[in-house]
C-alpha cells in the first residue's frame, strides 16, 4: 500500500477540521479538547491540539492522508513533525476574521521554511455575508499574483475538492517544469 499526505494548516478556527471532514471517507480522527481561554471560547468550544486525520482511498494501492494542524500557537511544535514528507499544503484562512490574517501569513511563511513544496491558500467562509472579498484577502495576506488563493466553504464538498485539485495541479506543474 502506497501512502501520500497533504497538510491543512491555518490559524485557530479557520475551518481546517471541517475542510478535512468534507472529503474524508472516514470520520476524521480528531484530537479536539475544550478551549480554556475565554477569548477563544467565544469563537468555538473545542480545538485541535495534536492533529486531524482524514483519508481518501484512490485504489487498493494508493491512499491520500490529510493532516490538519492544531491552530493554537502553543501547539506549533507539532507543525514541523506534521510537515515532514508532505506533497504540499493548504493554508486555510477565515475570510470573516481579518484579525487572523496576520497569523495566517506567519503560518504560511513557517511552512514554506519547513519544506519548499507547493501550496495554495483557501479563503474559507466565503458564503458568509461579512466575508472579505478574495482580492482584499490577497492584499491583506500580501500574496503575489502567482499564489493560488481560492474561495472556499469548508462545509461544501465541491469547493473543498476544487482546493485539493488546484494543489495537485500545482504539484504536477512543478514536477513537469522540473523545479
Amino acid at each position: 500500500m502506497q501512502t501520500v499526505k497533504m497538510v491543512v494548516t491555518g490559524p485557530f478556527s479557520a475551518g481546517k477540521t471541517q475542510f478535512i471532514q468534507s472529503v474524508s471517507e472516514i470520520d476524521v480522527v480528531a484530537t479536539e479538547r475544550k478551549i480554556s481561554s475565554d477569548e477563544e471560547r467565544s469563537v468555538k468550544n473545542a480545538t485541535t491540539v495534536a492533529m486531524d486525520f482524514g483519508r481518501i482511498t484512490v485504489d487498493e494501492d494508493l491512499v491520500l492522508y490529510l493532516f490538519g494542524t492544531p491552530g493554537q500557537k502553543r501547539f506549533d511544535f507539532m507543525w514541523e513533525i506534521l510537515s515532514e514528507g508532505m506533497l504540499g499544503f493548504i493554508v486555510m484562512v477565515d475570510s470573516t476574521r481579518p484579525e487572523t490574517f496576520r497569523e495566517a501569513r506567519s503560518i504560511l511563511e513557517t511552512f514554506r521554511a519547513y519544506a519548499p513544496t507547493p501550496f495554495v491558500v483557501a479563503a474559507n467562509k466565503q458564503d458568509m455575508e461579512d466575508a472579505w472579498e478574495i482580492e482584499d484577502v490577497r492584499n491583506a495576506l500580501r500574496l503575489d499574483k502567482s499564489t493560488k488563493l481560492l474561495p472556499c466553504t469548508a462545509t461544501n464538498r465541491d469547493t473543498v475538492k476544487t482546493v485539493l485539485l488546484e494543489l495537485l495541479y500545482s504539484i504536477l506543474h512543478e514536477m513537469e517544469s522540473g523545479k
Partner: protein, 268 residues
C-alpha cells in the same frame, strides 16, 4: 526556595517585577544562548549590570559616551590598570574631566541598556544569588525598576508581534519589483538593504551589522510592509530531507500517482 528557572517560563520582565516587589538584594545570573549576564540589585533597585565579555568599566562607558576621548581612554587603560572604578571616578572628577553626575548618569544609561538587551533573550536559564553582591571595585547606582519593567513589557509585546510576522531569521530577503527610488531610509535600514540577497539570511545580516534580533526584525518588518522586500528561502540552504514525499523515486511513477489522485478527487 531558590529563584531559578528557564526564560521560556519566566520572562526577564517578570523577574524584575519579582525582585522589585520583594526588594531583593543579590545578583541575577542569566545564561543566554551565547553569553552570560549578571545584574545586581540592592533592596530591589538596579545597582550594577554586566553582559558577556563586554568592557563595562567606567573608562569604557565614559569613552562610549564621548566623555573622554580615545587617547584618554588608552592612557587610563595603560596607566590606571590597577585602579578601581571608584578611584578612577574620583581622579577624573578632581581633574575636572567629568562631573559626578556625568559618571552616574552614564553608568545608569549603560546598566539600563544591558538590561534592555536582555529583554530580547528568549532562550536561557536564570538563577538569583542572594549572596552575590555587586563587585566592590565598581561604582554602583540605585535605579528604580518600574520604568525599566514598563519598557521591557512594551518591547516584549513588540517582539512577539514581530516574531509573528517574521517567524525565523534563517529566511533570506529579496527585492520586489518595486523600485527603491524616492524612499527615505535610515542608516540602519540602509545597512540591511545593502545585504538584501537570497544568499544572506536575516541572521547573517544582523550579525554583520551588529544588530540585535529585535532591531533586524523591526527593520525587515518595515521593509516588508513597504513592499520593498519579500521573504525567501536562502539560496544556499540545504533542502530539508523529505524522503517520504513519494513512495517511489521514479519521476514518471510520481506523476502517474498525482494523476491518479486528481482523477479520484474529480469523481468524488
Amino acid at each position: 526556595m531558590a529563584l531559578r528557572g528557564n526564560l521560556r517560563d519566566f520572562t526577564i520582565t517578570q523577574l524584575l517585577n519579582l525582585i522589585n516587589l520583594a526588594s531583593k538584594t543579590g545578583t541575577l545570573v542569566v545564561d543566554g544562548a551565547s553569553e552570560q549576564a549578571l545584574i545586581s540589585f540592592r533592596e530591589g533597585k538596579l545597582a550594577y549590570a554586566r553582559i558577556g565579555r563586554e568592557d563595562g568599566s567606567l573608562a569604557a562607558v565614559l569613552h562610549k559616551a564621548n566623555k573622554i576621548n580615545a587617547n584618554q581612554y588608552r592612557a587610563i587603560a595603560d596607566r590606571a590598570g590597577q585602579m578601581t572604578d571608584k578611584e578612577l571616578g574620583l581622579l577624573l572628577i578632581n581633574a575636572g574631566y567629568v562631573s559626578q553626575d556625568d559618571i552616574l548618569l552614564n553608568l545608569q544609561g549603560y546598566f539600563t541598556d544591558v538590561v534592555r538587551r536582555l529583554f530580547t533573550w528568549v532562550e536561557g536559564v536564570f538563577r538569583f544569588e542572594n549572596d552575590m553582591l555587586p563587585p566592590d571595585d565598581r561604582i554602583n547606582v540605585r535605579l528604580d525598576l518600574e520604568n525599566i519593567i514598563i519598557e521591557g513589557s512594551r518591547q516584549l509585546r513588540e517582539l512577539e508581534q514581530l516574531q509573528d510576522e517574521i517567524p525565523s531569521l534563517d529566511m533570506a530577503l529579496k527585492f520586489t519589483d518595486r523600485p527603491l527610488t524616492n524612499v527615505n531610509l535610515s542608516v540602519d535600514e540602509w545597512k540591511v538593504v545593502k545585504f538584501v540577497d537570497p544568499k544572506n539570511t536575516m541572521r547573517q545580516i544582523a550579525s554583520t551589522n551588529k544588530l540585535t534580533e529585535i532591531e533586524v526584525r523591526r527593520i525587515v518588518y518595515g521593509l516588508l510592509q513597504a513592499g520593498l522586500v519579500e521573504l525567501v528561502r536562502p539560496l544556499n540552504a540545504p533542502t530539508p530531507p523529505n524522503p517520504k514525499m513519494f513512495p517511489t523515486q521514479d519521476k514518471e511513477e510520481q506523476k502517474s500517482l498525482i494523476n491518479k489522485l486528481i482523477g479520484r478527487i474529480r469523481t468524488m
